[in-house]
Subunit: 437 residues, 2 copies
Amino acid sequence: MIEIHEPALEELIHDWSTLNREERLARFRSLPPGQDDDFFLSLEDHDEADLVVSMPASERRLWMRLLAPDDAADLIQNAPRSCQADLLAELDDATRKEVSALLAYKEDVAGGRMSPRFARVRPDSTMDEAIAYLRRQAAQVETIYYAYALDEEQRLLGVVSFRDLFSADRTKTVRQVMRTRFVSVLANTDQEQLAKLFREHHLLAIPVVDGDHRMQGIVTIDDIVSVLQQENSEDIQKVGGMEGLDRPYLEIGFLQMVRKRAGWLAILFVGEMFTATAMGYFEDEIAKAVVLALFLPLIISSGGNSGSQATTLVIRAMALGEVRLRDWYRVIRRELGAGMVLGAGLASIGMARILIWQAVKGAYGVHYLLVAFTIALSLVGVVTFGTVAGSMLPFILRRCGLDPASASAPFVATLVDVTGLIIYFSVAGLILRGTLL
Amino acid sequence: MIEIHEPALEELIHDWSTLNREERLARFRSLPPGQDDDFFLSLEDHDEADLVVSMPASERRLWMRLLAPDDAADLIQNAPRSCQADLLAELDDATRKEVSALLAYKEDVAGGRMSPRFARVRPDSTMDEAIAYLRRQAAQVETIYYAYALDEEQRLLGVVSFRDLFSADRTKTVRQVMRTRFVSVLANTDQEQLAKLFREHHLLAIPVVDGDHRMQGIVTIDDIVSVLQQENSEDIQKVGGMEGLDRPYLEIGFLQMVRKRAGWLAILFVGEMFTATAMGYFEDEIAKAVVLALFLPLIISSGGNSGSQATTLVIRAMALGEVRLRDWYRVIRRELGAGMVLGAGLASIGMARILIWQAVKGAYGVHYLLVAFTIALSLVGVVTFGTVAGSMLPFILRRCGLDPASASAPFVATLVDVTGLIIYFSVAGLILRGTLL
């Protein structure tokens, strides 16, 4: 009979965040055998770590030993520092050695994600011999979808997929069938770069080699899918103007969440204070022509919005490798054009609004045409500036070695607010001097 | 010898966007055999479609026939409608039938992503028989990592992984080894839901079945990785306040890009116009106390920034399934607390700034303490309102059947700007009546 266990598991995971440690452990122990290991393996790294840490030592061993070396390393990296040695001690000798080697790498590079348990074949085996040999390794390796042909010094000579092994003429050797042009990475390759390789080449595993092409391990695509989701969450949260949360929203502690948000919010606030300073210089103008103040939020927010769009586009294009540093000139040319077209569009909506309101209510006095021109011209200037500044900020940040994703929508909006009101009052000074000012 | 072809391919793809159709075709034809098919398969769906469409009919057949049915269906879906029938005609009869069936599904559901070419085994075969049988299918199927045991009516009975086949006792039958508890989906399952299943269960392929559990095809993880990237780009672009671009930044046409940005920008602009209307009601207050205008951008942007943070967090948590509609009460309680704490933090920075400026420059007149209190109290109100509104907007949108990701940072900022200035002037009216007002 077919039984689809997904919905039940889904329920367990969703509800999970509302439970405390004891309740989680009790729930976990109440699962029927067979479902408990499925559930355990489906937990996020940090939840897995929490659960194992909350178990008595006698219970830990079983679960630690269920994990592949790369997953065990991830779990240990997510456990409190004080427990890490104890957890490592639960592993058998061979695995402990492998896990210790993995722990030497940062979690976000190929070395920290790789499994040392790959399937190997001898280059001079026939298809039948290779298949028989793989059959003996099958239980121990992380994936058998690709087998790797190594020489005596463990240097990677070629990759052969299972499909190739299976479909090739039985009398051929591995050397005749294997691919010698393949993608491989070094242990320090960043995981975002890895994700890009998986995506572009439609691979299921990528071999990790050292500088002499000696095989170190493999990174498999299932590890990268969760990485992608996590990196993307962080990117989205940065665009929204905060540090990336590293845990699910409902699970992260209240104070920790507030701290992650407060930092950026305070920086933005201090940046935005310059608007008050800048406005101070235009106090007289405002006193003379209060009508100018009415349109202030409209004008500066238009700059902020167009800047947010531009910065979001460029950050994402950079993250996907579609745009590089040297493309800055193509981008600025494009955004200058886009800014002027978008600014002109908003300016015509703005003018229409003023002319209609004036006709209906006479709201803007005798100089309403000059006011309308001031608003329109300011909008073109502010939107163009916002667009160009928003698109260039990620380039500047990257050029300075910073994360371009820090150029969040609110960050750009703040930057553009200050310059936007200077543009606005300068345009007003030019057009309205002698009449309203 | 090891040759890593990735960098060359990378160069080709990057540069690709700057070429016109003829140049692309010429470049593609100049690639050495063996590298041209790697390159072809690594192109994004729409680039692949463009390239094939630009070829003379005689050249198309080779490339169309290189594609697996699901990839051919994706290509055809990305080609201009007028060419689709011609492209379909290039396929051999069997493939054409499969591709036509796939084209009946939307591109973003399991049915549109699935391959009908999966590996099948008979439930009563022994391990040796099953392996021999798979060996005969290997060249034709999309992935051989899992084999599917079907009954005579094509109903899915169980799944057996290659590793299990290889490591199990040779005399056992498939029925004894196969997993009967497994994840499967219906053809109309959304691709985001699919991505979640791949991630939670660490799977390489998921079977697609109909209502009677009859096997339709499989979705493989490599198709989902590109889906994930694309969906995430769209989500990020929505947070930045625009429609998702469906092509790389440097490749999309200028007018098309401007159009995607102009829509939201105009909507936000019209929304922001209400600030001018609202300000109209407070014109007298501004004329009496110009000092109020100075802090206006600071206060309303603080509401916008805190709202952006809250909305981004909630949208992402919803996309990942961490937060559901029924969690709204837990979220609002959390955000009410967070808003008050964050607002109080900004209020104290704001007060400090006013007191220091007053001490140094005497900038805010005799009633500076009242002004400081007005600013501080307004900040607590505006930030709390922004946070709560930003966090609830995605719930409201989803409740109305709309995409919660439409609650972009700029959208929330606009909403909060209007209410923010009403809060600000109301607080000012309460505190400053009889002194400045």
